[in-house]
């Protein structure tokens, strides 16, 4: 029920959602796709990750989501390598019988992925490349899921 993939290639949303809906247990599939924004003259983005830990960390997040909500499936596909504005970077999908847990789990997974999964972005603008800085708003988003 967890499908976690790190790849350079684009992903196929039709196939991923069909797999989560197959069998008729999932009435609701919530998908997040993150895309490269054409902000401030961005020409391209290059993603690096920590092979091994990336998959392990995402699997831990997915297990936590499955413990919190009655899900029928979770799919996370994160791309690495060089991407252009508009390209998809990541797919996070959560499936459940009803929509409320699917929405909550998808948002939880994204917030944790942004703050815990070991990926780093390099941004190229006007021929210059620099590492993207982490955003404080992402830490704030993740912190709201912490249990007291």
């Amino acid at each position: 029920m967890q499908r976690i993939v790190i790849q350079q290639a684009p992903f196929d949303l039709n196939a991923e959602v069909a797999a989560l809906a197959a069998g008729g247990a999932a009435g609701a599939v919530v998908n997040f796709t993150g895309h490269v924004r054409a902000e401030d003259g961005l020409a391209s983005l290059t993603l690096e990750h920590y092979p091994g830990m990336t998959e392990a960390e995402i699997a831990r997040m997915a297990a936590e989501a499955a413990a919190r909500w009655p899900l029928t499936g979770i799919t996370v596909i994160h791309r690495v390598g060089t991407l252009k504005p508009g390209d998809a970077i990541v797919l996070v999908a959560a499936a459940a019988a009803h929509r409320t847990p699917a929405f909550a789990a998808c948002e939880f997974l994204m917030d944790y992925l942004k703050t815990h999964a070991p990926f780093w972005k390099q941004e190229t603008r006007n021929g210059e490349t620099r590492w993207a800085e982490a955003r404080a708003s992402d830490d704030a988003a993740a912190s709201r899921w912490r249990k007291p």
Binding site: M53, V90, M110, K114, F119, W120, W131, A132
Partner: protein, 83 residues
Amino acid sequence: MTLLYFAWLRQVIGSGEEQITLPPGIGDVRGLITHLKGLDAKYAQAFADEGRIRTAVNQHHAALDAPVSDGDEIAFFPPVTGG
């Protein structure tokens, strides 16, 4: 033990991976960082601001006081920016 460096840390140190033998008396991440900073100017530069560094021990996020031992895989990297 295996040390891994990612993103700008890898670039400052000039390598993504190295094998070292943990010197006696070093028991946690903080001690390991102090040891590395004493080795060479490039480590001193990479670890100059510890607030900018995150650590994983055996592929789990770890704090500065997390225990380390020979045979561990220790990774150093900036705050993550995926998604």
